[in-house]
Symmetry: C2
Subunit: 337 residues, 2 copies
């Protein structure tokens, strides 16, 4: 099947660019130096490609992602880099057969983990972004509480999410260092071997962390593409032109197929005007006609993929390219049954 | 089960507000005066409530929605208010057993409909929003072409999508009239009994259309709630507090659970700071603690629902309220197999 024969809208992965991204990252951060973040793609078939390149440790944002990785046989060492207080879900992780480590940042999260069979934790530290994580100087107290509850404290994590997207590389480096200074304070207090941090925007400059939690590097998006990283945009949405006139055209790919939290998508050979639920209105640089295929590039990859039930690997982002594989986006939603 | 026992994040519908909205609309636009838009909820169980209140004609944005309505036994008269050039999908609609009417706005869409067994069409007219639809003065030519291709032209449609969200009611009325002036020109040229238009924001002021395509009225959202319409916000996302400190708190409901195209959500008893993939960071007005449930109100209802696989009806938007039903969001995605 050709890309131009896919029912639209559909996610298309440039297999070559994707492989280049994985190879580039595996060379920079081999094996356990990278703990690929599954939330970026929610696709066990894609994770298998990361696994095949030597990364056997994974990061997840939801219990469902962790369980899916365990069931897919990639549960050697999976980190839930998120707080969970749901007893049923924690119990499901504990019983999954996988080695599951859970982030904790409070007495409540420690108690929930210990009470539901979790054995290993990281102390999650706030390194500057107002989200989860304890203050650095509380990491020792929490580590003590976790150990007292019978948990193994593997170390600390602290995600510099306020830094990974900074376009100024010098500023990004300086702020990464400042964030990791916080994490160092916490690590000295909490102990353990693991210092987990980082993302696609800081994978090369965060030299303090023992492992980097990057995920977007595999497929990239317009936001990360602005950072001049050595990764290629590998994911587009293929759409069909359903209307064209002298001023603008419309394709069948709207905000139900594209994440809008980072703003409008871009298009190859066109200027995007706006998205509706099932439409993108755009000004093409050269005339298009109904039934033509066009390619739309999302501003933010993670939530874009989460809107689709599969992604198609192709030899290129081109209507005439061959579709070589089709992967279910099997870790969507939050259900752990 | 209580709302506070639902695994989070989860969609919760206030059953009373929902029934009020449906009753209010059925009184204002009884029976076929309303052609409820299925894209707003993608849920056949919800459509069944609209059907039970006398609305037996429906509007859909995707072939999948049309097929799902047909398979659910609500295919008396379903309009695909969107252009489709996909032969397989058009053929599936034609063979569905439902009475399916398709919007056409070009020679290409007419040829595709006629070639794949579609029998009835509406001429889609651009009434001011740059999306699909022919210029009003081309409606007659297209209607002639459709009839020459063997299609029954039931009338015209023209969605004043650029008007439905205007907060100034006077301006909304004036612009609705201007849009319907365009549609009147087209209708005189095209003929047919049906003049289909409108949305939740113009359901009461668009008195020209023979039928209104409103959908959001059933559950509402923050954007429409700003228009002082007689409908109540009936849908929230319930989330669990997973982190709390003296300055802010975090709950497990992020931009993978909430549409962001209309901006940030709001929260009951809190100011939202920002959303990440699986988190909302907020400043609560009164202290919250881990495991507390909070309610998040989406800016835009349609794409929010499309991120979830079910919605839960409850006696109130309250952790202690009873969950009385659970409906699958069964018309998501674009697959028609």
């Amino acid at each position: 099947m050709k890309v131009g024969d896919l029912p639209t809208p559909a996610l298309v992965v440039d297999a070559e660019a994707f492989a280049y991204n994985l190879d580039t990252m595996a060379a920079a951060l081999p094996g356990p130096r990278l703990r690929p973040h599954v939330k970026a793609h929610k696709t066990t078939a894609l994770a298998r490609e990361q696994h095949a390149r030597g990364h056997h440790t994974f990061t997840c944002a939801t219990p469902r992602e962790v369980l899916g990785m365990a069931r897919a046989g990639m549960g050697d060492d999976v980190l839930l880099a998120n707080q969970c207080l749901d007893a049923n879900r924690l119990r499901a992780l504990a019983d999954s057969g996988a080695r599951v480590t859970v982030a904790v940042d409070s007495g409540a999260t420690i108690i929930a983990a210990a009470a539901n069979g979790i054995r290993e934790v990281l102390i999650d530290v706030n390194v500057g972004m107002p989200r989860c994580g304890c203050p650095p100087d509380e990491a020792g107290r929490l580590a003590d509480a976790a150990r007292a509850a019978g948990l193994e404290v593997r170390g600390v994590m602290g995600y510099e999410g306020h830094v990974v997207g900074l376009e100024d590389a010098t500023e990004r480096s300086a702020q990464t260092r400042a964030a990791m200074d916080c994490l160092e304070v916490a690590h000295k207090l909490a102990g353990g071997d693991v210092i987990s941090a980082g993302g696609t925007g800081t994978y090369a400059i965060n030299t303090y962390a023992t492992e980097i939690q990057a995920g977007s590097y595999a497929l990239m998006d317009n936001a990360y593409d602005a950072l001049a990283l050595p990764f290629k945009r590998a994911l587009a949405v293929v759409a069909t032109v359903i209307h064209a006139n002298a001023k603008f055209a419309v394709a069948d790919c709207g905000l139900k197929a594209l994440a809008m939290d980072h703003g409008n998508p871009s298009m190859t050979g066109a200027d995007v005007w706006f998205c509706s639920d099932e439409h993108v209105t755009f000004a093409p640089h050269a005339p298009v006609a109904p039934s033509d295929r066009v390619f739309v590039w999302a501003a933010h990859v993670d939530p874009t993929i989460a809107k689709h039930d599969r992604m198609h690997l192709a030899t290129a982002i081109d209507p005439d390219a061959e579709v070589v594989d089709s992967w279910p986006v099997d870790l969507r939603g939050w259900d752990v049954s």
